[in-house]
């Protein structure tokens, strides 16, 4: 490893410092400080409305923040325009509701970004796209439209679409919450293997099995604050805060 790479791996890949965000009068993020190292997998957990989605959306600036700094690879997120678009292409996002492009085939969904943003030739983008679809186990669905796929297949296609941009970090906002129970594992399996391969990930999920298997760190949020950070083992067996204990007792009952 060159010295240049060595210094780069020391600095966090994603760094949030003193981030505050309001929607009107409602403060949704309160003094968020969070460093995410290259290759780290973070699971964000917390009650509904605690600001988990907003945190994710701020990292690729689908939402702006009023105070604080967010850096990717040491660089402040650009305000808007082409620079912001370029930044977003390096931060993948997987949504709860998949959001596959409804008028495009699965393969076209996966190749749109590489062709339009990275200016990759169509044939090359398609070849790589098919490999990605194979990797997430839906190669035979390439020429279908999103509505023809099951929820689990759609979400895996959405992961392939994000991977096609070769992002530095992948954000997942409750990727399995809209899925029927029998499809949850096929998506979590793909995510687990990504984590094993060293992808940097921020995952909002209540799937404790995934957190235990794949996460380096659990971040517990409540009312817009990061209340607790710990390894999955520590967090689930021995939470410190009363709010985390209370929350865990609720999600453990079912």
């Amino acid at each position: 490893m060159s010295s240049d790479q060595a210094t780069r791996t020391k600095q966090p890949l994603v760094a949030l410092a003193g981030v505050n965000k309001w929607f009107g009068d409602l403060q949704v993020l309160k003094d968020i400080n969070l460093d995410i190292a290259n290759g780290e997998v973070i699971v964000v957990i917390g009650p509904s409305g605690s600001g988990k989605s907003t945190l994710c959306r701020c990292i690729n600036r689908l939402e702006g923040v009023q105070q604080g700094e967010i850096r990717l690879d040491g660089v402040l997120l650009p305000e808007e325009g082409k620079a912001l678009a370029r930044l977003r292409s390096e931060v993948g996002m997987v949504f709860q509701s998949f959001n596959l492009f409804a008028h495009k085939t699965i393969l076209e969904n996966v190749t749109l970004g590489p062709i339009k943003v990275r200016k990759v030739r169509k044939a090359e983008a398609e070849q790589r796209g098919r490999l990605l679809l194979e990797r997430v186990g839906i190669a035979e669905q390439a020429d279908k439209f999103p509505a023809q796929l099951s929820g689990g297949q759609q979400q895996r296609a959405a992961i392939a679409r994000a991977l096609a941009m070769e992002p530095k970090v992948l954000l997942f906002d409750e990727p399995t919450s809209a899925l029927d129970p029998e499809m949850i594992n096929e998506v979590l399996d793909v995510m687990t293997s990504l984590a094993r391969e060293g992808m940097t990930m921020v995952v909002v999920t209540h799937e404790m099995g995934f957190a235990r298997k794949a996460a380096d760190r659990v971040v517990f949020m409540d009312h817009g604050k990061i209340v607790e950070e710990a390894t999955p083992e520590t967090f689930f067996t021995n939470p410190r805060s009363d709010r985390a204990k209370d929350f865990l007792s609720k999600i453990l009952t079912h």
Binding site: R88, F95, N99, F101, H103, L112, K116, A147
Partner: protein, 217 residues
């Protein structure tokens, strides 16, 4: 009836003029209206204001007044057109674009916000996400109302011949009627029929386009 048959060559020429004027204006109005709709949803406030002002001004002006402004008003500020035919296409396009804008904008609003967010999340710029993701879906959902506008435009084009010396099919009606007062009903009926030769197949074509482009959801 005989008056129509005796003037088939003039009818045919007028029909072609109406058809050419309508097709050119429909294409121009659809393009201009789509650009205006993009302005109206743009992140840049001046563009939004421009789009909104255009729609308010044009939508609330009678089409005949738009014709007067284009044909007699603009030359006063040194904007002139080669002939009345071109000027009529401009007037029809400018007028219809305001309505196209609003139809396309409602189409854009019918596309779920998740689509545009996913587009931005893979790094598409606002313009790219509009062109490659949002507009293709927006158009599919507004084919029927857009078709209505195209059909209305064909009929609105009659103002060009009726009032502004364009030799379209509408201009033929009064002159044929003057020369053949006994056949007035047949003449006007025949002219109306000629419009239907354009509008009815247009309506059918719109239905076909709607079915062909429907998106599975």
């Amino acid at each position: 009836m005989q008056a129509l048959l005796d003037n088939l060559d003039r009818l045919w020429a007028g029909f072609l003029t109406t058809l050419a004027m309508s097709v050119a204006a429909a294409v121009a109005a659809t393009i201009l209206g789509t650009i205006l709709a993009a302005f109206r949803v743009s992140p840049l406030p001046p563009l939004r204001a421009l789009g909104a002002t255009y729609v308010q001004l044009v939508r609330n002006t009678p089409l005949t007044a738009v014709f007067f402004i284009v044909i007699f008003g603009l030359p006063a500020v040194d904007v002139t057109f080669q002939n009345f035919f071109i000027a009529a296409i401009v007037a029809l396009s400018v007028y219809t674009a305001a309505f196209v804008c609003e139809v396309v904008r409602s189409g854009i609003n019918s596309v779920s916000t998740g689509q545009a967010e996913a587009a931005r999340a893979i790094g598409l710029t606002f313009g790219q996400s509009l062109r490659d993701v949002v507009l293709p879906q927006a158009f599919r959902s507004v084919v029927p109302p857009l078709g209505n506008l195209w059909i209305a435009l064909v009929k609105n084009s009659a103002i060009a011949g009726g009032g502004f010396a364009v030799a379209d099919i509408a201009q033929l009606a009064p002159s044929l009627a003057r020369d053949n007062p006994a056949q007035v009903l047949a003449i006007f009926g025949g002219i109306a029929l000629a419009y239907m030769v354009i509008t009815v197949p247009s309506g059918i074509a719109v239905g076909v386009i709607e079915r062909r482009t429907a998106i599975l959801r």
